[in-house]
């Protein structure tokens, strides 16, 4: 009898923790939470896994992060920002995103000389570029709504490193760390 009396409150406690006082209400709560997390994970903070070496050493291969899709609601991308870019501007919720750094803003002219990036003829200070670079490329003028994006790992060959002009519509947001 004592054993039974002791077991009932424990079972009740576990039941209350797992399914709450009212099962139906708990079910509704779960549905609401799942829906909220789904919307959050799709429209606000998109979970991403870094795959590639073009952003080394800032972002390591296989690193986990979240892309804040609301980062550019109140202001436009700035120079030095790391941004997530969709490959096709028409895809609202893409499976794959590029992670790149903005070095050129609309209307500016970008060039590379002896491994250094130049904006309108002025050498850009890039403390995040840690590896040696030997890139050289003729000036490229950006149009309205166009940003020049490139990875931090410039030790890669120019052809192997995905970089270039991204339109404003391609920029999805910013990684949170």
């Amino acid at each position: 009898m004592q054993t039974v009396e002791a077991a009932v409150p424990q079972a009740g406690w576990i039941r209350r923790v797992l399914i709450g006082r009212d099962f139906k209400l708990t079910l509704v709560r779960i549905v609401i939470w799942v829906a909220l997390l789904w919307v959050l994970g799709r429209c606000v903070l998109v979970p991403v896994r870094v795959n590639g070496i073009s952003m080394l050493p800032t972002y390591q291969q296989e690193g986990r992060n979240f892309v804040n899709r609301l980062a550019y609601v109140f202001h436009e991308p700035r120079r030095g920002d790391v941004v997530a870019i969709r490959l096709d501007p028409h895809v609202r919720f893409p499976h794959l995103l590029y992670l790149k750094r903005v070095i050129g803003l609309p209307g500016e002219t970008i060039s590379f000389q002896e491994g250094h990036a130049y904006v309108d003829g002025e050498q850009l200070d890039e403390p995040y570029v840690k590896y040696p670079c030997h890139w050289a490329h003729e000036p490229l003028k950006l149009g309205p709504g166009e940003y020049y994006v490139v990875g931090d790992n410039r030790s890669m060959a120019w052809e192997d490193h995905e970089h270039g002009i991204a339109t404003r519509g391609q920029i999805v947001g910013q990684p949170i760390w």
Binding site: N51, I53, I85, L87, E159, G164, Q170
Partner: protein
């Protein structure tokens, strides 16, 4: 009373979802047919590890059936590969050569966008091709555009070309 109402609601939701799924399955729209075709193409382009030479040849031949007889495929990845393939013969040759040199390959076509022509007999599609090769932790990613045409009730690729995501 509440319990009965709740159960009825769940039942109606399940029935509605089932009816929608059945309708889509039995009467797929043209856009869905194209998506299915591209999914199937990605599977045909993939190579399973340990696949025999004969199976590879058969799959390479099968791969060409997703294209029209006069299809054109333009691969232009600056600094890496620039090649235009015309017709199924050239496609078969290229696919056979590529498959012979690879141990395995996993191809996925992601973020497929389909724009159906006004005649419903042609369509444009854009997609992201992701190819993972053995021993490579980073997949090859390439944006692709394709024009499809309906031939004998089947959607076939008339023209496909690589597109640079960043210009």
């Amino acid at each position: 009373m509440v319990k009965r109402w709740f159960l009825r609601l769940v039942l109606v939701a399940v029935l509605a979802a089932g009816a929608y799924w059945a309708w889509q399955f039995l009467f797929p729209n043209q856009e869905q047919l194209i998506r299915n075709e591209l999914d199937s193409l990605a599977k045909a382009a993939s190579i399973a590890p340990g696949e025999s030479a004969l199976a590879r040849l058969a799959k390479a031949q099968g791969l060409t059936t997703y294209f029209t007889t006069n299809a054109q495929v333009v691969v232009d990845i600056p600094g890496r590969i620039e090649r235009t393939l015309n017709g199924r013969e050239e496609l078969l040759e290229a696919a056979g050569g590529a498959r012979a040199s690879l141990h395995s390959l996993n191809v996925k076509l992601l973020d497929v966008q389909v724009l159906l022509g006004p005649d419903k007999q042609s369509a444009d599609a854009s997609m992201t091709l992701e190819a993972t090769m053995p021993g490579e932790s980073v997949p090859e990613v390439q944006q692709v555009k394709a024009s499809l045409t309906k031939v004998g009730g089947e959607w076939l690729i008339q023209h496909a070309e690589t597109v640079r995501a960043l210009r």
